[in-house]
């Protein structure tokens, strides 16, 4: 019996990256701007989607992919808004991956769709590692989660081009300091756009919607 050392040097996520690249090509060919929306559970991803659909109604044609461990409550919420939505159940998996998106796309009619938002599974860790083929990663942090989150989940904050600080109507009832969030976010990713919003009261949403619309238009004029 001989002991043998085999050089490998392979990216562990290469299988996923290949699928994500293929998705990305499909999106680019179809002229669809794609956002991977991430946050911890309950931060307000689906509420933000509902508000975004209302805000962009008649201006931008949207579709949604919903990722959850179980249930199709979220897809139903989106469909009630008259927007195409397909639900992915990961059956315990803590993030979406390129393959799940590829399969979900078969169930969507992408004709005329300008903006596809993929709502990832609620989790601030693993979704950051798995590219789906999106153009931008966007995250939500709600003030009830606390201002220490950027430094606890640095990769997520480092990769997201936009950070929505949600539930600002609850600020008086928490010890959350938005300036601390802003400062840690700046250290992690100085180019990140930060929006302070409340999906409940609608505060701050117009600024987010304007940013998103600009992004979609810019990608279509490329």
């Amino acid at each position: 019996m001989t002991q043998m050392k085999i050089p490998v040097v392979r990216n562990i996520l290469q299988a996923n990256d290949r699928l994500a690249d293929a998705n990305r090509k499909l999106f680019d060919n179809a002229g669809i701007f794609v956002i991977n929306l991430m946050s911890s559970p309950g931060a307000g991803k689906t509420s933000l989607l509902e508000k975004t659909i209302d805000g962009l109604a008649g201006r931008i044609k949207m579709a949604v992919i919903e990722g959850d461990l179980q249930s199709d409550f979220d897809a139903e919420r989106i469909q009630r808004k008259g927007v195409q939505a397909v639900q992915i159940n990961t059956d315990g998996g803590c993030h979406l991956d390129g393959n799940m998106i590829q399969i979900a796309l078969e169930a969507l009619d992408l004709n005329d769709v300008e903006l596809l938002i993929i709502e990832n599974v609620g989790n601030l860790v693993c979704p950051a590692e798995f590219n789906l083929g999106e153009h931008e990663k966007v995250m939500i942090l709600s003030v009830t989660e606390g201002h220490d989150k950027p430094l606890k989940y640095p990769l997520m904050f480092q990769l997201c081009s936009a950070l929505l600080i949600n539930k600002i109507d609850l600020l008086p009832y928490t010890d959350c300091d938005i300036q601390i969030i802003r400062e840690s976010a700046r250290q992690l990713n100085a180019n990140q756009e930060i929006f302070e919003i409340s999906c409940r009261t609608g505060e701050g949403l117009p600024v987010w919607l304007a940013w998103l619309e600009r992004k979609v238009r810019a990608s279509r004029s490329r």
Partner: protein, 130 residues
Amino acid sequence: MSIAQSVLDIALEEGRQHGLKRVSIIRLQVGALAAVVPDSLKFCFEMLSRDSIASGAELEIETVPIVARCSACRELFEVENHIFLCPQCDEPALELISGRELSLVNIEGETGDFDDTDEDSSGAKHSAGQ
């Protein structure tokens, strides 16, 4: 868990290609920024690798520091305490040079030579004949 599965898939594939009977060590490079907790990865790997040729294999994880290039002075700097700002200019990092690695570097194991080679004294005969 799916990262552990990918590690196992690659190790088994490479092991099979090279005729390994058992994989004993798997060396990984993991960037300090990667969303991977070494202990969790080891635990998941242990569960997944049961009943495979990589069962009991040791995961040796080398952490790669976070290094970025300053957008102003273009110098490289090591990112400490997750501050992606150049210590010289206080300007944001332009690009990440390292820190996101998730690579399988090499594996070690035993080849599938016949078990009886040890009992067989052919090696001794050879030297005796010389």
